[in-house]
Amino acid sequence: MPEFYFESLSAFWQMGGYALFVWLSFGSTYGLLAALWWFSQRSQSRILQDLAKKQQREHRVRAQQQLEEENNEPKT
């Protein structure tokens, strides 16, 4: 089991003077990865909703087509 390398927690935060760079890179990495996951997750959960909406639209069109046919029939 490796040991904690830094003497204190504040030394850990300071990263031997390289705090900006280290935390910047770790922060941006996990930020980007989280964003990627969030977007992927969101589109996955949205897609079924969108499909359902589309199906509703289809029903609308069907209804209209039926209406048209009923209108046309007496004429012909």
Binding site: Q44, A52, Q55
Partner: protein, 260 residues
């Protein structure tokens, strides 16, 4: 050829399989990444030359390696899609591309953050740095191309073709350090015979590499599921799924009769 693969290429089956795998892969990936980060950040000694800034290696190298790995897997999928006309492979291209782009971006950002303390500048026009930037452009090109067509299937096919053509850049990135003398250091861990890195530092790095790979797989599963649904929406099984989601009440009943 590859007849045994056929059932997996069936979208519905693959959708289920991805759904099964995703939670496991994701959990594993998160655990490995956390472990590697904590270990790499706090439990390894500092580099005698670079001090604590070297800890960036635990994400820089995995991201850089898998930025190319993602490209190769994307290109392989694209090749399969083009030659054997397997639709699932074609959708996999679009699923992997954004992940690869993000990995590349991470490699670039962490590289820049590492370069500032090491080389004294955020950016130099060095062969490896430039070629990694080009890799990002290639990814963006694939993404842009797949979104540029009114016909989604066509976009997927065209971007698959581009992905295959872009493979020429991979060797250029990998060997750029050898072909041109650059600031960027050469292979350290890929020289497996005699890794020029201390073993205590090596483990968290290897864990990081594993974690990024697992994350790549997990996110690919997730995105592929979305792509399958999107492209198979005329199939009965997807329609049934959508209907289910309505009955569950997750979809607000829209104002269907708009105008008509």
């Amino acid at each position: 050829m590859f007849k045994w693969l056929d059932p997996y290429a069936k979208p519905e089956t693959l959708y289920r399989i991805c759904g099964l795998w995703f939670p496991w892969l994701m959990t594993l990936a998160v655990l490995t990444l956390l472990l590697s980060t904590v270990w790499g950040l706090g439990f390894t000694p500092a580099d005698y030359q670079q001090g604590d800034s070297y800890r960036i290696i635990h994400i820089h190298v995995p991201a850089a390696i898998w930025s190319m790995g993602a490209y190769s897997s994307m290109a392989i999928a694209a090749f399969i899609a083009l030659v054997w006309q397997i639709k699932v492979a074609q959708w996999a291209v679009g699923a992997i591309a954004p992940i690869g782009a993000v990995y590349t971006l991470i490699a670039l950002l962490t590289g820049m953050a590492w370069g500032k303390p090491m080389w004294g500048t955020w950016w130099v026009w060095d062969a490896r740095l430039t070629s990694e930037l080009i890799l990002l452009f290639l990814y963006l090109g694939v993404i842009a191309l797949s979104g540029a067509f009114a016909d989604r299937q066509l976009g997927a096919k065209a971007s698959a073709l581009l992905a295959v053509v872009g493979v020429v850049n991979l060797p250029i990135i990998h060997f750029s350090v050898e072909w041109w003398n650059t600031l960027h250091q050469g292979a350290t861990i890929t020289k497996f015979a005699k890794p020029s890195i201390d073993p205590s530092m090596l483990w968290p790095l290897l864990l990081g590499i594993l974690g990024f790979a697992l994350l790549l797989a997990a996110l690919t599963c997730l995105r592929l599921r979305t792509a399958i649904l999107l492209n198979e929406q005329h199939r009965p099984w997807v329609r049934a799924l959508a209907q289910q989601s309505v009955h569950k009440g997750s979809v607000p009943q829209t104002n269907a009769g708009r105008g008509v």
